[in-house]
């Protein structure tokens, strides 16, 4: 039941977001698109930080790598969105693997520190490699997303973006769900809970960590490509440490380790600042307060991960009602 509830929740959210887009206001469309991109980004961070337990403090930089890859491929090489999207994911994953290889031996806080360093290095590179990234000026006029047959259906360009982003978001969530709700996902959780024990059980922890990081970077790159193509303009300022922290906050508020939680967290923290626009400069303070209060009162997040033990307990409690048959 709980699982079905979660699925309905996601579906409801999608309906709400699509509904927002159909409201025919470009501002609401923009909010919906940004929210969906952040859902993908938060879910990708949650995959490595929540499920595999590797605290990453430089996730926005990988988001940026994906955005720059997509932007450069489409403006310089003239690729269309459907080719830049996977290419951005693959390039980001490759860069993630290369920079993360030396850090794979590190545990806990050292890994977090290393990702912070990597993130800042990538940011400094984006800012200063003017020949490639045009530095602080950013890259302008990135072509928007195009769908075949959109003209025939009479869809506006924002509606096309909405649809494409929603499709990519659902596909990414599905892929991450399949990865984390499987035996493979369980080995990631084993790694999170006790890596020495997982090692002793015959799990190749170094390889698993690398794979988890690569998958996470892949989806961060996908989110970056969506960002580049929907906003049309990117500059290094969107990929700084503060952004990494924002994404981490989304994952934490939703509940680390829970994919559904990531969706909720991303929605709350993207929509809240927009809803509080009247408050003006108070809104970042409200975000900080929400983060603080949620850690204090909801340590497992709004929709935290259900532990295996809880699942068993729930099954046992429900068992008599289901005809006295104990289903294990």
């Amino acid at each position: 039941m709980a699982r079905h509830l979660n699925r309905w929740l996601i579906l409801a959210l999608v309906v709400v977001l699509v509904g927002l887009s159909m409201a025919n206001k470009s501002y609401l469309n923009q909010v919906a698109i940004t929210t969906m991109i952040f859902i993908v980004l938060t879910a990708s961070l949650n995959y490595v930080t929540g499920t595999a337990g590797l605290l990453s403090l430089g996730h926005a930089a990988f988001f940026g790598v994906g955005a720059y890859a997509a932007a450069l491929l489409s403006t310089k090489a003239g690729w269309s969105f459907w080719f830049t999207l996977p290419a951005a994911g693959v390039i980001t994953a490759a860069i993630g693997i290369v920079v993360a290889l030396p850090t794979m031996r590190l545990v806990s806080i050292y890994f977090a520190v290393a990702t912070l360093g990597i993130g800042e290095m990538l940011y400094v590179t984006m800012l200063n490699w003017v020949g490639l990234t045009r530095g602080p000026m950013g890259i302008r006029s990135i072509p928007a997303i195009e769908l075949p047959g959109a003209k025939a259906l009479g869809l506006s360009s924002t509606e096309v973006s909405m649809l494409a982003v929603a499709l990519v978001m659902l596909a990414s969530l599905w892929a991450m769900h399949r990865l984390s709700h499987s035996f493979y996902g369980n080995s990631l959780r084993a790694l999170r809970e006790d890596d020495a024990c997982a090692d002793a059980m015959g799990i190749d922890i170094a390889r698993l960590k690398l794979e988890a990081f690569a998958v996470s970077c892949f989806f961060a790159g996908i989110a970056g490509a969506l960002f580049a193509h929907t906003t049309g303009y990117i500059s290094p300022e969107s990929f700084r440490f503060g952004e990494s922290i924002l994404v981490l906050s989304m994952a934490v508020i939703g509940g680390l380790g829970s994919l559904y939680g990531s969706v909720i967290g991303a929605v709350v923290l993207s929509v809240l600042p927009e809803a509080l626009r009247e408050l003006g400069s108070f809104r970042m303070i409200v975000v900080g307060l929400v983060l603080f209060l949620s850690i204090l009162f909801l340590p497992r997040g709004l929709l935290g991960e259900v532990s295996a033990l809880d699942l068993v307990r729930r099954q046992l409690r429900r068992a008599p009602a289901a005809g006295g048959r104990r289903r294990w």
Binding site: P102, S108, I109, E120, T125, N128, I295, L296
Partner: protein, 304 residues
């Protein structure tokens, strides 16, 4: 590069390195007692600078009074930070939960949240722009020392850092508070057995660490003539790198590494443009983690 330029850059590098060192000490002390990275430490630095600025604009006292008052402000901000972001999560006092993974993650994020709130409040109050500092307080008047030109800011930074480091050495090794801090950082349970109040010791650690961070803030503000709400970020990260290089909870190691970072960063500007300068410290960080996964000056077994 001739000898004059070399000396000149050495002086500049050492000054900025000393500032990083003062910030890094706070990081290492707090990491020692709680095994947690205090992400709001950069904001203590900023609060020190803004507090000093307020003192200057309202009272305009002599410089040493400003520094003393900033010490007070820094210490108080450390106390408040501990109360707000760390105390609420410490429900049990035994070592297992005091340094547990859950504690670490919760306080890491809560200190982040507090740092966001503080930074945004400052921005709201003072706007995000650089603040105007009264000319007479800027520590930028040049002093010729032979062929080398230094500023009085260099002297103030050298002098007060030496004083602070000496005082820290005295506090940590000669006073009861310092011994309690070292005891808790070494073994919480053992410290409790001999009657040390861990809560008070943790507060003392935050106060001592934040004193240093706050005074570093006002000195940098006056030396570089730049006080703004986001000023704590860069020294915070550099000090963080120094802490990791130094082995997380060794103040001496952190000071040495902070000096190395400051000096090499300054020399790097001779060869590359200013923007790439930041790569130096991150490069150091990754090299250290690669070759010395628990820091260069790590003395005891890491307890992760």
């Amino acid at each position: 590069m001739d000898a004059t330029v070399f000396l000149q850059q050495l002086v500049n590098g050492l000054s900025i390195g000393l500032v990083y060192a003062l910030v890094a000490i706070g990081f290492t002390l707090i990491f020692g007692v709680l095994n947690v990275v205090n992400f709001a430490h950069g904001e203590v630095f900023t609060v020190g600078a803004f507090g000093g600025l307020l003192v200057i604009t309202m009272l305009a006292p002599p410089l040493w009074v400003v520094l003393l008052l900033v010490l007070l402000i820094g210490g108080f901000s450390g106390f408040a930070l501990e109360r707000l972001a760390f105390r609420p999560f410490r429900r049990f006092a035994d070592e297992a939960s005091l340094k547990s993974k859950a504690m670490r993650e919760a306080t890491l994020l809560s200190s982040l949240a507090v740092s966001i709130i503080v930074r945004e409040l400052l921005e709201l109050k003072f706007s995000g722009e650089m603040q105007t500092i009264p000319q007479s307080f800027l520590l930028q008047s040049p002093i010729a020392l032979g062929p080398v030109l230094i500023t009085d800011g260099n002297l103030v930074i050298f002098g007060s850092s030496a004083l602070m480091l000496g005082a820290l050495q005295y506090i940590l090794f000669r006073t009861r508070v310092g011994m309690a801090i070292r005891a808790v950082s070494n073994n919480v349970l053992g410290a409790q057995f001999v009657g040390i109040d861990t809560n008070r010791t943790i507060i003392a650690t935050f106060v001592v660490g934040s004193l240093m961070g706050g005074i570093a803030g006002i000195m940098v503000g006056l030396y570089q003539g730049a006080i703004f709400p986001h000023m704590g970020f860069e020294p915070g990260i550099k000090a963080f790198v120094a802490m990791v290089m130094g082995g997380l909870s060794s103040p001496g190691g952190a000071v040495i590494c902070a000096l190395i970072i400051g000096v090499s960063e300054t020399f790097a500007t001779q060869f590359v443009s200013d923007g790439w300068k930041a790569l130096v410290s991150y490069g150091f960080l990754l090299l250290t983690l690669w070759f010395f996964p628990s820091g260069i000056f790590a003395t005891r077994k890491e307890k992760m």
